[in-house]
Structure formats: C-alpha cells, structure tokens
C-alpha cells in the first residue's frame, strides 16, 4: 500500500527533484519551529514563567491561531515528505512513535486552548492547568526528539 504511494508520479517527482524536496523540507522545519514556539510560549505563560505582564488569554488569543495554522502547514509538508519514502517510514518504530507523540501533543494543546480563557479569569492559575501546560510543552519537544531520532536511529530522511 505504502509502496504504491511512493511510486505515484507526483511523489517520485518530489523525491527526485532536489530543489523541490528541499523547499518542502524548509517549509516543514520552519513551520514546526514556528508553531511549536507559539504553544511553548503559551504553556510557559500558564506555568507562570513567561510573559507575566499579560494575562494568559491576551497572549493565547494572539498566539494559538498561529499554533493551528503552523501545525496544518507542518503536517501537510510532513505528509509530502512521508510520501516520498512511505514504504520505509510506515513500518518504522521511531516514526510511529513520533506520530503517537504528536497525537498526544495535539490533544493536550486542544485542552490548553479550551481552558486558557477560563484559567485566565481566575486569580490563581490552578495546578492542574500548569500540569496540562507542562505536559503539552514536553510532548511537543518530545515530537521534535522523535523527529531527529528517525534519522539517528533508523537512518531515514
């Protein structure tokens, strides 16, 4: 199944056209740095060690839209990169671990997004909110680690 994806015309074109593959890689890297940065800043604010001059919701309202836009672009570019070597990526344990970590990170980010306005209203940020924010932050950094591990441990990409 994945092999047939790899052998589709536009996928082999992407895989064999150096400047295009490089451009997609640049989009993947830049947008992931960008969107993970935005959620990290919001998480750090909730934890209480960043941007304390603004309320949580003031920061989150401006940053979280970018988290999702950036995530979409990172995911799209990621799918393109995956396609070029789908037969090797799909069964790879490190790649699968990365997908699982991203799924968990997205779930935590949704919880942060839904909780931020409420937490911002309270006089003191609840401990559970801080733990959720910390988990979100650690999971996204974990996704980056899994990403670099794909090359380091499996030799792919």
């Amino acid at each position: 199944m994945w092999e047939s994806l790899e052998h589709m015309g536009w996928v082999t074109f992407l895989a064999t056209t150096g400047w295009l593959y490089g451009a997609v890689s640049v989009v993947h890297y830049f947008t992931l740095f960008f969107f993970i940065g935005t959620i990290v800043l919001v998480d750090l604010r909730i934890i209480g060690i960043a941007g304390r001059n603004q309320t949580i919701s003031l920061l989150a309202d401006q940053l979280l839209p970018w988290t999702w836009i950036g995530f979409m672009l990172a995911m799209l570019s990621g799918i393109l990169l995956f396609a070029t070597d789908a037969g090797d990526y799909a069964p790879d344990h490190v790649f699968r671990a990365k997908m699982l970590v991203i799924l968990l990170a997205v779930i935590l980010t949704v919880i942060v997004h839904r909780g931020q306005w409420k937490w911002s209203q309270l006089p003191v940020v609840p401990l559970t909110a801080k733990l959720i924010a910390a988990a979100s932050l650690l999971l996204w950094l974990g996704a980056i680690l899994a990403g670099v591990d794909i090359a380091a441990l499996s030799g792919l990409g």
């Binding site: 490089g22 940065g37 800043l41 941007g51 003031l58 401006q62 950094l141 980056i144 680690l145 670099v148």
Partner: protein, 160 residues
C-alpha cells in the same frame, strides 16, 4: 582569520565532550537543544513580523507584542547558540568544509541577526499605532525571508 577558526574547530573536536557527542547516543539530544531554542527564537520573531505585516489578531500593537516576548526571544537565542555550538564541536572541521554551512553561518545568520536587532529596536516606534508604516511591513517581510534563508542553508548542509 580562517586559519584561526579552523584551529579553534580542531581544538574543539579534540575535547572530551566533543568525543562524547561523536561516539555516544547523545547527538539527537544535542539537536533537540538546538531545535527547542529555535522554536522559541523563530516563534517569537515570526509572531512579531506577522503582526507588523498586519496579519493576525490585533489585541496588542506590534510594539506591545515585541515587548512582551522580548526576554524569551533572547533566551531562545541563547539556547540556539548553545545547541549549535555543541553540534559544531563534534565535527567542526567537517562543517567548515561544507559550503552550505559556511553560507548559513558566515552570511545568512549574521545578516538575519543584525536585521532582527534593527527591527526589534524600530518596532517600538513603528508598532505604536495600529497603522503600521510601509517601511515596517517591508522590514518585517525581509526578516522573515532572511530566517527562511538560514533554514534553507541548514537543510542543504547534508547535501554538500
């Protein structure tokens, strides 16, 4: 000058920690340091640039946003440099022979960094009002393009 840098790279390669980076499984974690710093550094830069370009929520002016993110912007930068230095330490002489690396660190990083400092200082004036002057929009766009050039050069390193 180049001889000095080369000598420094050779000395770094000979250190204990460089050997650890080369021979143990720690390398991905060094990359993690560099990349984690990049999320905060590029994230804070891009958010302010996008705001100057007039894209995104307008709860705060670009000046206010830049001010709010200033400390973590530079903390991010320090983490990037730390990670980058450690990555370089392991195989510095190899990197110095890599054209993409030389373009990245010799041309685009200095350019982008200087430009970023200029924009960051100017944003206090430019970003006061909701209406951002055209020069500010152009400058923000240039900053984004310069950091994209840095990432492009970095992506090209394995290919050279």
């Amino acid at each position: 000058m180049y001889a000095f840098v080369l000598g420094f790279a050779k000395w770094l390669e000979g250190t204990g920690w460089a050997s650890v980076i080369r021979t143990t499984g720690i390398y991905p974690y060094i990359q993690l340091i560099h990349f984690s710093g990049l999320t905060v550094w590029l994230g804070t830069n891009t958010v302010v640039d996008l705001r100057l370009l007039g894209i995104g929520q307008k709860h705060q002016t670009a000046a206010q946003l830049s001010e709010a993110l200033f400390v973590w912007n530079w903390i991010g930068f320090c983490v990037v440099v730390l990670g980058g230095f450690l990555l370089f330490s392991g195989i510095g002489t190899t990197y110095l022979a890599n054209a993409a690396f030389e373009v990245k660190l010799g041309i685009f990083v200095p350019l982008a960094l200087i430009w970023h400092i200029v924009v960051q200082r100017k944003v206090q004036k430019w970003g006061q009002a909701s209406e951002v002057p055209p020069i500010a929009r152009l400058s923000a766009l240039v900053e984004l393009l310069l950091w994209l050039c840095v990432v492009t050069a970095a992506v090209e390193i394995p290919n050279h």
